[in-house]
Subunit: 196 residues, 2 copies
Amino acid sequence: MTPLRVLLADDHTMLREGLRRSLAGHGIEIVGEANDGKAALDQAASLKPDVILMDVTMPILNGIDATRQIRRTVPGCAVVMLSMHGETEMRSQAAKAGAADYLVKDCSTDDIVAAIYKAAGMPPPETDSKVLTHREAEILQMIADGKGTSEAAAALFISLKTVKNHLASAYAKLDAADRTQAIVKAAKLGIINLDV
Amino acid sequence: MTPLRVLLADDHTMLREGLRRSLAGHGIEIVGEANDGKAALDQAASLKPDVILMDVTMPILNGIDATRQIRRTVPGCAVVMLSMHGETEMRSQAAKAGAADYLVKDCSTDDIVAAIYKAAGMPPPETDSKVLTHREAEILQMIADGKGTSEAAAALFISLKTVKNHLASAYAKLDAADRTQAIVKAAKLGIINLDV
DNA sequence: ACAATTTTGGGTCATTCGACCTATGTAGAA
DNA sequence: TTCTACATAGGTCGAATGACCCAAAATTGT
């Protein structure tokens, strides 16, 4: 019922925003973001997230060392490590530091979601909040970002009619009377994201 | 810059929601709500809010006793007491327990805001995010809550035209092209609230 | 008392929106 | 293969929306 509370720890803002977007709609709530290992440590203590998605290479304090300390000081937080490459060496170090999992950054969103739930000791919510199709959610997100119907159509290289159809379908599924309600409801469900 | 983190402790859900609404748009973030004194104690420790708005009469553990314990265990949290009545007796007990202020529940939102900032040792943000007039924000909130234009008009006993005018005015101030963008922007600014 | 702001109300206009309908191609599942 | 779901695209139609004007109470501040 209550969404998994996740902390993002990565020094790349762009990647964090991408993750924030990608993880929306999977019952995952991003409760905080950290730029470096030290910040991750602090936020882990104060926010007590269920899971921390932590990059290996970060300034000030690297992800491995941060994980080791977090596992000691905040044992309730599971840590999923992210890395650019899949070096065996790193994997074992991460495991030794107490990481629940180790992912390479080019894996799919579903992989990340699965790893997060596995780390939290929960099964992924399957069809849970997957009320909307990818396309519907994508278009709804663009509307929430301030694009108009025709702008969304242009950006996606599809017809205005198609955008309207997807929106209409989304409204029906969300039981929303208009796009404003749809945005609000989708945001509440975590299907789209109003941040950034 | 960063909003004041406030915890609401009151056993009346309705009053909490009202406060949540009222305090939006004053640079105040409601980080949690508690139903009773014990929950307030727990959440004060875990959330470490800047200020706690605490009712005097609550089940399990009353507000005065909860305040006393919180002031001892989480000295960083200032406590503003709320009461139905302004008994002198209570006031002095609250002060003795370490409350920063004591408000009667029929005071205005501005009074509460002022008390919260005073308790946090900060000046209220004056004209800060007061981009919209009360009426504009009120109507925008109703739209966000799923009401249509005419429903809002009916609820406020004013003309449909007036509602449209307020909305148009709000759009202009928020630099929003339509109501959806206006809702999103207003929510980001904390002027309205998408929760509840 | 006066000025400024807010709230209220009106009108017109083109544009957009959402409801309702059908239809095609492409997947994937049974 | 057949069936289902999805994405794509079109049409029509009435209603709602937003842009652009305007003005008069009511409130507030000075």
